[in-house]
């Protein structure tokens, strides 16, 4: 029995005269991976930004385990268990991989008043960071400066950081962007493992990956949900094909 963890209820966002998202409804369930697809300009980024708290909605609600979190900013949502990885790599390039994740872990146990504690020696944050690093497949790279990682490793670090915050809902924005086939396969494996106890929203362009790992797929076009359902339904849907084909025709 899977429970609904994150529910987007008629999310709408206007930018002046432009409507980027119109009454988008999405439900994320524990143990399931929900993929969000759509051609460029469909409004996927706007949607994920609203879910993570990076962008306030013009209308609509967001419910986390039944609680209305629409008014909370991204920091507060992070504390409620929502974690986000970014499409454009958003790490701390001058810090080591370990420190990137340790900082993420520290957010759960901030201890701001302990002036005489050496942060890098706080056992709980370091151990949580190491565990997240291993879970994301970056074991052995702890001491490397994050800015010097390969592109694929940076994407893994993005995920490791989110894991280090003990997030129960993961919003992943194109984690496979720019990856070669081997790295992509590893990432897909990782996603499969990650969804076991968590609810995941995956925005992606890599169709193979999506169909390999998604339990539900929602397709957006021009700000609205076109269709939503199991992968087979989407694969066979004529409307979806028309939407993508239409995109290809325009080039």
């Amino acid at each position: 029995m899977s429970e609904a963890m994150l529910v987007a209820d008629r999310l709408t966002r206007h930018f002046g005269g432009l409507t980027a998202n119109l009454e988008v409804c999405i439900t994320l369930e524990r143990g399931k991976l929900h993929a969000l697809l759509g051609p460029n300009g469909a409004g996927k980024s706007t949607c994920i930004n609203m879910l993570s708290g990076d962008l306030p909605p013009s209308a609509g609600r967001i419910l986390l385990e039944g609680q209305d979190v629409t008014g909370l900013d991204s920091a507060e949502r992070s504390h409620r268990g929502i974690g986000r990885s970014y499409q454009r790599t958003n790490i701390f390039p001058q810090f080591t991989v370990l420190e990137n994740c340790r900082l993420a872990a520290q957010s759960r146990r901030p201890r701001p008043w302990r002036i005489f504690t050496d942060a890098m020696k706080t056992r709980d944050t370091v151990e949580r960071a190491r565990a997240a690093i291993v879970e994301a497949g970056l074991g052995g790279r702890e001491q490397r400066k994050a800015g010097l990682l390969s592109h694929g490793e940076k994407r893994q670090l993005e995920i490791a950081m989110v894991l280090a915050t003990d997030a129960r809902v993961l919003l992943l924005d194109e984690p496979l962007a720019g990856m070669g086939s081997e790295e992509s396969a590893q990432m897909v494996e990782l996603l499969r493992e990650l969804k076991q106890n968590r609810a995941i929203l995956l925005v992606e362009h890599d169709m193979d990956a999506v169909f390999a790992v998604a339990d539900t797929i929602t397709v957006m076009v021009e700000g609205s949900v076109l269709e939503s359902g199991p992968p087979e339904q989407i694969r066979n849907s004529e409307e979806v094909q028309a939407a993508y084909l239409g995109e290809e025709e325009h080039g």
Partner: protein, 322 residues
């Protein structure tokens, strides 16, 4: 560079500073004391600029507010209690920083630089033109504070050597305190904010509060410097809050190299050293200083603390890239 060598170097400098009164003339003892006070001022700004990435161009306001606090609340012809006025001055500076921080930390980038300057100018104006500052020419602290505590007087600030050591101890204490702060969880958050504030927010950090805390702490420590400066020279003027003062302390932080407390101290030495040297040569010493600043920015953007590393690299030890 080998951190052992660096630590040894720092200890050597400290030892030199401790021995200085024995060998230096009274003019130089006072000069070095002034530099040490400025080093505290510079370190307080380094916390903001170098470590948190908040470029404040109005830091002199807190320096001046503390200086004015001690001069205003001390009785005219008697000694105030050192511990009391110190606490009052630091509290006043910290409170002012907290209050200003509530406004200025709502802005970023160029705006932040400008509004910190504007608020400092507002404070300058208050002390220069209103009754609070008494006179636009400044006021005197006629008697050095008395260090008694529960009937015991550990030292007397009327003795220049003891005043010097008091200041040296204060500088060392601030250095040690800030070293701890920077390594603490709080300090690491500041570093994270400097590196990527947006990411810190999405990781769950209430970054505004951390920046406000840093801004307040920096203001309070600038207050320590302002307090000591007033005690050292016995005279406080509105120029302590001027934007020239804010510019000078920023320059010290840069000269020494960002991201380093020791660099801030070195920057204070370098700046005041240059200032003394240039003003010996000409009354238009600011021209020389200006040229040095322009040259430093154009040719030496990593500052003095970055100098050893640059020299190291040109010698080519085959180090890993930065």
């Amino acid at each position: 560079m080998n951190s052992g060598v660096v630590t040894l170097f720092k200890l050597a400098v400290l030892a030199g500073l401790m021995l200085f009164p024995a060998i230096g003339s009274s003019f130089y003892v006072e000069l070095v004391a002034k530099i040490l006070v400025m080093a505290i001022f510079a370190m307080s700004l380094a916390l903001l600029v170098g470590f948190t990435g908040l470029v404040s161009l109005g830091h002199a306001a807190y320096f001046g507010i503390a200086a004015y606090t001690v001069a205003l609340i001390a009785p005219e012809y008697e000694a105030a209690n050192l511990w009391f006025v110190l606490a009052a001055s630091v509290l006043a500076a910290g409170a002012a920083a907290f209050f200003v921080g509530l406004f200025v930390l709502r802005t970023k980038g160029i705006y932040f630089i400008m509004v910190t300057l504007a608020f400092a100018q507002m404070a300058y104006y208050i002390f220069h033109d209103t009754a609070l500052g008494r006179s636009s020419d400044g006021i005197y602290l006629n008697v050095k504070p008395d260090a008694s505590l529960f009937g015991w007087t550990p030292f007397s600030l009327d003795d220049p050597a003891q005043l010097y050591y008091f200041i040296l101890a204060a500088m060392a204490a601030v250095f040690v305190l800030l070293s701890f702060v920077l390594r603490s969880p709080f300090g690491r958050v500041l570093a994270g904010i400097h590196s990527n504030e947006h990411r810190m927010k999405s990781l769950g950090y209430a970054t505004f509060r951390y920046k406000l805390a840093a801004f307040t702490l920096a203001g309070a420590l600038a207050g320590v410097a302002g307090f000591l400066y007033a005690v050292l020279f016995g005279f406080v003027t509105p120029e302590y809050l001027s934007w020239h003062q804010s510019g000078n302390v920023l320059l010290m932080v840069i000269l020494g190299g960002l991201g380093s407390l020791a660099g801030a101290v070195a920057g204070a030495f370098a700046f005041i050293g240059l200032q003394e040297m240039f003003s010996d040569w000409t009354k238009h010493w600011q021209l020389l200083m200006g040229l040095v600043i322009v040259a430093a920015v154009l040719f030496m953007p990593t500052g003095l603390a970055g100098l050893p590393r640059r020299i190291f690299r040109t010698v080519n030890w085959g180090e890993d890239d930065e």
